[in-house]
């Protein structure tokens, strides 16, 4: 439901009544075929929201070229006709499909649902009112989102970086960080927006790629690149791309001269006032909750934090204060894409937990007539030529194509349609298939990438195998790209129809492969992540095996006292352990590890061995790896030699026990990044900055006369954690920045420990005498992660953490289907992110386990027994490990076998085989050869 807003939420968890207001689109979604004729004719231009006001759009428009649904809409605030009845109306005349409806009205819907997920996102901070940045007055001061559009090939300048003021190419570009973030004076947003450091680096690198010789500088306070692989990206930006990083807060931007040069003034680290000039200044604007979302929060009656984000618990990061209402994405705090995707799945898991008794109640499976056997019939091809309004017919002589198609071999029926994809044409095609006894279909229309599924359904509805259709792409690949050349476009359309007909002649009925699913999950690792996944799946009604290597549940969380928001970890972990132990659906295997694995998605067989030497095989449909990480034991800073140099985990224990050394100590020094962000461990452990700041606050609160120092590289109290950093500074904790080349030195002389560090401001070494040194040590991957990975054919990254399928879009999936990852096993992270990821992994696993079988596309490698001689060349090239070599029956040599559940139909085997021993169904050698021959026949 687009153009829709929630206006009322009544009822309780499991049974809400939600009122949704749907604004008029003025375009009939069923009729609009997104040809764009209306937009061509529309005379009214306004700023494009999508292009962040860097470009224009019309009053009738589609948000962007790849929009879903790809349907046009009329902006009632811009449309001439809607403002003045009787005027304009050009779009209505231009629309062949008759989709324009100026009389469309607002509609109210009342919808009964079991749960609500709020995912309304964020808005970028608007720097206009702040004044000092020159935004709104100097055209060359733009926001990061605007730069994003300028850099885009589909943007207003097609990716060319020129100054908006005079069109001059940009040679010097400055990024100003923390605009609308970490700033209570100018905007009231005290929190860190978490994503701006990373996007600024990305944009700087891309801008430098676009413009050779471009100088890009990033002015920042702390470089917060705490996510997976982000620090490596930062290092590459510095060392390979040559992006310049300047640690300072820029005071303001002023316009210099007629051309609109930007003058920056700032105080550098040495305390000197400097000025620099730039062609363009990019403001790295922060994320904030938009007004309409604040209203939505009020409508939904959920609590917000002081920073105006939805309030959630660290142990239930997607649950709002109102039962049955969940959140995901930036509404509950600024976050990046992977974390937003994780939360999307996590919210799904939380909903599934709540509503599991009603699973499948409201969903239906479509039914189709029995399929006709055509194997003994001669081909009878039906060709349907689409006009696509004027999109095809306006260029291609469709009548000539129709007449030509009738002359092709095996073609027995040809027809033209105004819109082949419309519902009435679908019904008509179904009728024709039955009437004319057609057994192969060619649709000459648009691209199979979007429309093949639709026509497959049509064939199914007609009782014909869905794979007996072939599309000739005479729109995207023809009429749209040869607009000025109707003669050749018509000839090409004929060729494309001939090629499709030739291919489909050799098409066979194919059956999608159905793989049964064992509706049981295996979770490896009994820490917070593993327990959360196991519990959620069990609450959803699935049987779960939970494998823990030690004799205790809880994992690394057993070492922790408080989350960043102050929740008591031991209490919450104890609750979680209790729930796991009492859940009848969870079978716990303690002191056990996975030692062997067979099978594939839906059908894994994992052998687990216990300490006492026993082993058993568990059948499961999906698996979650949540094996955690371990604490790094340092060797530097005299950790081995000085007893009062401790790690943060050790310090927590000593502090809790009120150990004498800690109790009497007056001076404390925390050293950050011990084992993180250097050498081979170029990653941020993500939790240590917040941890040290929290410890420092606790020390200060207990006795304000204590001296507490934190030696840091970049203070990474991201998101709403920034409040802790602010509090620590207010309490008098002293923060000293050090760089990798001037690392602190720790020595002991009698009772006194001395920490020596290079002071950037004073330009000389600084000696701090102290009683206790606390090392903020890194989180390391488990040393046996790679071994476990090999068993399930899932990879680990260069640092030894498990590698997800896609960093942005599939953050908990593995490239091996049916396997998922959560928690520290994936990357260092705080508890609420582990919990969210664990829920997400459970949700992803549940999408498999909810079904008794999965249906896989029939486009799969198939062995031709007559030709395969078992040379096994294909075994090595198969990227999915789907091909194995087996003995033929009765010892007649060897032959390959394809596991269709693992095969993705890429056909590398087909391309490699010298003997035609293996082919991909639907793309056989015969079919493609026929297509080649047809392509060159005339």
């Amino acid at each position: 439901m687009t153009l829709s807003e929630v206006v009322k939420v009544d009822g309780n968890a499991g049974d809400f009544n939600v009122t949704v207001k749907e604004s008029p689109r003025y375009v009939d979604m069923d009729k609009c075929i997104a040809c764009g004729a209306c937009t061509d004719k529309c005379p009214k231009k306004v700023d494009s929201e999508y292009d962040a006001a860097t470009g224009k759009r019309k009053a009738i428009y589609v948000k962007y070229a790849q929009a879903v649904p790809l349907k046009y809409q009329i902006d009632p605030n811009a449309c001439i006709r809607l403002k003045k009845p009787g005027a304009c109306g050009l779009c209505e005349k231009a629309c062949d499909a008759g989709a324009i409806n100026f009389n469309d009205t607002e509609k109210m819907h009342e919808i009964n649902v079991g749960a609500v997920i709020l995912a309304p996102g964020f808005e970028a901070y608007d720097p206009t009112d702040a004044g000092v940045w020159g935004y709104g007055t100097n055209k060359n001061v733009i926001t990061a989102m605007q730069l994003e559009r300028y850099l885009s090939a589909s943007g207003p300048t097609e990716g060319h970086l020129v100054r908006p003021s005079d069109g001059k190419p940009v040679r010097k570009l400055a990024f100003l960080q923390c605009i609308g973030s970490r700033d209570e004076n100018l905007c009231g947003n005290g929190y860190c927006s978490s994503v701006c450091c990373m996007y600024a680096i990305k944009e700087a690198v891309i801008a430098k790629d676009h413009v050779p010789g471009l100088k890009a500088s990033i002015f920042y306070m702390d470089m917060r690149t705490h996510g997976k692989d982000f620090d490596m990206y930062l290092e590459r930006a510095k060392n390979e791309s040559g992006v310049r990083f300047v640690r300072c807060r820029v005071n303001g931007v002023e316009t210099d001269g007629e051309g609109g040069d930007c003058r920056l003034s700032y105080v550098n680290e040495d305390g000197r006032q400097l000025e620099e000039f730039y062609d363009m200044v990019v403001l790295s604007v922060g994320l904030q909750t938009p007004k309409h979302v604040l209203e939505l929060a009020k409508t939904a009656d959920i609590k917000l934090t002081a920073d105006n984000f939805a309030a959630t618990s660290d142990f239930a990061p997607v649950q709002t204060s109102r039962e049955g209402i969940f959140t995901c994405g930036a509404i509950s705090g600024p976050k990046d894409i992977p974390q937003s995707v994780v939360e999307g799945s996590a919210a799904a898991a939380a909903v599934a937990d709540l509503l599991s008794p009603s699973r499948h109640n409201l969903t239906t499976e479509p039914t189709f007539p029995a399929e006709k056997d055509i194997s003994n019939e001669d081909p009878r091809i039906g060709v349907f030529v689409c006009h696509c309004g004027s999109n095809i017919a306006g260029v291609v002589d469709v009548k000539a194509v129709e007449e030509y198609a009738q002359t092709l071999p095996n073609v027995v029926y040809v027809e033209r349609n105004l819109f082949s994809c419309s519902q009435d044409t679908q019904d008509m095609i179904t009728k024709r298939i039955q009437e004319q006894n057609l057994n192969r279909i060619v649709i000459a229309a648009c691209t199979p990438r979007t429309h093949e599924p639709l026509f497959r359904e049509t064939l199914k509805a007609a009782g014909l195998n869905e794979y007996l259709v072939e599309m000739a792409n005479i729109r995207n690949h023809n009429s749209w790209v040869h607009i000025q050349d109707p003669k050749n476009a018509t000839a090409k359309a004929k060729d494309l129809v001939r090629m499709a007909a030739a291919k489909v002649t050799f098409g066979d009925s194919l059956t999608p492969i159905s793989v049964p699913i064992t509706q049981t999950a295996l979770v490896i690792g009994g820490g917070v992540a593993g327990m959360t996944s196991a519990l959620n799946l069990a609450e959803q009604g699935f049987d779960v095996h939970l494998v823990e290597q030690t004799d205790t549940l809880g994992g690394n969380a057993l070492n922790l006292k408080h989350t960043w928001a102050g929740e008591h970890v031991p209490t919450e972990v104890a609750k979680l352990v209790d729930k796991v132990l009492w859940n009848e659906k969870i079978i716990l295997h303690k002191e056990a590890r996975v030692t062997a694995v067979e099978g594939f998605v839906g059908n894994f067989h994992s052998t687990i061995s216990t300490k006492d030497g026993k082993s058993k095989v568990i059948d499961h449909g999906a698996g979650i790896i949540a094996t955690g990480g371990e604490v790094f034991i340092p060797q530097e800073y005299n950790y081995d030699n000085i007893t009062r140099v401790v790690t943060s985990v050790q310090f927590d224990k000593l502090f809790e026990l009120k150990e004498r050394h800690v109790r009497i100590a007056k001076k404390f020094v925390f050293i950050q990044c011990v084992g993180s962000r250097e050498g081979d461990n170029m990653y941020c452990s993500k939790v240590c900055c917040t941890h040290s700041v929290q410890s420092a606050i606790a020390l200060k609160q207990e006795r304000p006369d204590r001296n507490v120092y934190i030696l840091y590289r970049d203070m990474r109290t991201y998101g709403q954690r920034e409040a802790l950093y602010r509090q620590a500074r207010k309490l008098g904790v002293i923060f000293i920045n050090y760089e990798l080349h001037g690392k602190p030195k720790v020595t002991e002389d009698g009772d006194i420990i001395t920490v020596e560090v290079w002071d950037h401001v004073l330009h000389r070494p600084l000696k701090i005498e102290c009683d206790l040194v606390i090392l903020a040590t890194a989180i390391r991957p488990m040393p046996d992660a790679a071994d476990l990975g090999k068993l399930y054919k899932v990879p680990v990254d260069g640092h030894g953490f498990f590698q997800e399928a896609h960093a942005k879009l599939r953050p908990v999936d593995f490239s091996t289907d049916g396997m998922f990852v959560a928690g520290l096993a994936h990357y260092p992270k705080p508890i609420e992110e582990s919990v969210a990821q664990a829920l997400a992994a459970a949700a992803r696993a549940a999408t498999l386990l909810a079904k008794t079988s999965i249906s896989l596309d029939a486009i799969k490698a198939t062995v031709d027994e007559n030709y395969c001689d078992g040379c096994a060349l294909c075994v090595d090239v198969c990227p999915y490990g789907a091909i194995t070599l087996v003995d033929r029956a009765e010892g007649k040599g060897q032959i390959i076998r394809v596991n269709k559940a693992q095969c993705k139909g890429c056909g590398l085997c087909q391309g490699t085989c010298p003997k035609r021993g293996v082919f991909v169904a639907g793309f056989t050698m015969k079919q493609i050869s026929a297509q080649i021959q047809a392509a060159l026949a005339v």
Binding site: D15, Y50, I117, T363
Partner: protein, 60 residues
């Protein structure tokens, strides 16, 4: 399990990357999903980004 009414459908408010992910996962695990989007098309802010995040990858 308490014997209260549980409706097997979910409303998701917001059609950005996070809302879409939630919608897909819930639909795939057997729930009816209403995806409510304020603007004319789903995709959210991610669809505006240039590189790194393929815009036509919204998997609907």
């Amino acid at each position: 399990m308490l014997d209260t009414k549980k409706v097997g459908s979910v409303m998701i408010v917001g059609g950005g990357v996070t809302g879409m992910q939630a919608a897909l996962d819930l639909a795939d695990s057997g729930y009816y999903v209403y995806l409510v989007e304020k603007s004319g098309a789903i995709g959210g802010a991610m669809a505006q980004l240039d590189k790194t995040f393929p815009t036509n990858d919204c998997s609907m």
